[in-house]
Subunit: 343 residues, 2 copies
Amino acid sequence: MKRKVTLKQIAKELDVSISTVSKSLRNSLEIGEETRLKVQAFAKFYNYKPNNIALSLKNRKTKTIGIIIPEIVHYFFSTVINGIEQVANENGYSVIICLSDDSFDKEVRNMEMLANGSIDGFIMSLSKETQLKGDFHHITEVINQGMPVVMFDRVTSEILCDKVIIDDKSAAYEAVQSLIDKGRKKIALVTTVDYVSVGKLRTDGYTKALLDNGLPFNENLIIKIEDVDTCEVIIGKLLEDKAIDAVFAVNELFAVTSIKAANKMGLNVPEDLAVIAFTDGIISKYSTPTITTVSQSGKKMGNRAAKMLIERLELEHKDDEEEDENYKTEVIETHLVERESTN
Amino acid sequence: MKRKVTLKQIAKELDVSISTVSKSLRNSLEIGEETRLKVQAFAKFYNYKPNNIALSLKNRKTKTIGIIIPEIVHYFFSTVINGIEQVANENGYSVIICLSDDSFDKEVRNMEMLANGSIDGFIMSLSKETQLKGDFHHITEVINQGMPVVMFDRVTSEILCDKVIIDDKSAAYEAVQSLIDKGRKKIALVTTVDYVSVGKLRTDGYTKALLDNGLPFNENLIIKIEDVDTCEVIIGKLLEDKAIDAVFAVNELFAVTSIKAANKMGLNVPEDLAVIAFTDGIISKYSTPTITTVSQSGKKMGNRAAKMLIERLELEHKDDEEEDENYKTEVIETHLVERESTN
DNA sequence: TTTCAACACTATTACGTTTTCGTAAACCTA
DNA sequence: TAGGTTTACGAAAACGTAATAGTGTTGAAA
């Protein structure tokens, strides 16, 4: 139970000053070889490692990135974290993760807590509640304090900062187009409530694809799921009444649930009903049938977001008051992963 | 772009000492009401918040928990994080997450980095490589420095510390017993390589269940998957040759792959082949047929682990050199979630 | 008048680093 | 030997906070 040794202790033990110890360990030329080697040997023996907190305080940077996401038990978000962690790690950064649980208050609390010196910058995706309220003061505040923020996936145009997104609209367009190309005429959209930014965009893409192909746009073919649990019933109803031949779901869960509902009614996927899901996750790959998806590489998003943040951090460190602030929005390309649920 | 205000700045601005500002903000009685209110008003106006890093340095605790896990894009691990974060959050702790990617070196590097003052304690699950090597010096070292460690799921008996596990052996026993109870006689085990601690234990439970029921133990019915990609072929072969009537898989992926392999050969699940998986994740719930699983509540594990760690942290803070070190191993109960893949 | 307490505030220290500046001693040069 | 330059080290400040230990003034009790 030997506590970590500090410069002070080493200095005392070797009867030199703290400065001498510090300089010796950083191989400063100011220190004579004899002393330097002695100190280094001693430090090595006691396994001296500089205290990160003290360094953070002194350097006024923590080499830590704060991540705030709605939830973590979620394939997409965990792949994003994976991507962030990878780049962060390669650049000597750690990541500290906070979950908003899709709650505005928790998002605000977490941001305030982290903004008080704990981290150098944020990577975040907005909570549902925040998007609903449209209140982004906590983010503005952080940015005004000079702390860089990178938003991904669930972003808002009301905040000026770096962003990483996919082109939800054209990805949705492409998916629906592919259904149309396969002869599907009555395509339902299973989506979330409107205030989630990505949900809105995907709906736009869906609509545009229909109209561009001269297909009728029918409000009744769009169902907005609030609660996953009731999802199956609602979808079942849709299948029964409307004689639809394809489903475009904004996430895997809605897609797999649609398939289950179809199966229960004796419909075959893909023969009677084609299904495409947004987000290429684990469910699509292992469901029966496997599901055609719009791949939305979370890992790549994480990589890019981390890269953008770190670049800004290292840059702003160089010449402090540049204030260029030429914020970028990077768009990650998507593509259709064709599987058994379409033919 | 106003940087965060500090005590010093407030003091200078109001022409009082730093101590006065500090005490005013903490409502000390030593400070006269007039001054106190003036300071508080000023601080509020400039949105003063104490700097976490400075507090950490002063208090010699960071209120941060370090988590080291093999991977994050993994249902079980992300639920554990969710559980940890929840309890941590309730107790004013943050979590900083590092991924070992199942690599020994990365695990060591991450631990060393975090151990240098960044966190107050660890919660971790061993990487495969670490378990294979059997080298735990990095963990011993951290513990010797007085930093508490809680291990979960993938643990080792070679390290004395708090642990949270499930009773893998008896959970496996129970699962296999349930298959036997349903009349299955030729039960295959699809597992991982041996050095993963939990894999070994689950195999033991499987074996014991067979023997206790007077069923023959057949080495050939146990297949150890090294690489998920080759899994389907191997399982297919097993089904062909051995005329088995049930599969007990140590994770969801192996289970769903077994089902796919069976389907391809025209076998029906559960009629011709019953399947049980370890770990109740998202795949089991949404696969077709849904899969009977051994629920292994990651969230609960996370909750317990965080609780144990925080309790130890707060305790050791009270009377520093108690050295009781009565380490506990908590066992999280499991239960069988019966679904369509067994009957 | 002395003493002592209460009041209202400040100085200092400590946490662990790094770095700037300073300085004594030794050496070199003319 | 006076003056200058190296060499080798130390003191102190700085990062931001909080707690302990003062300090000086006032007023009241002895």
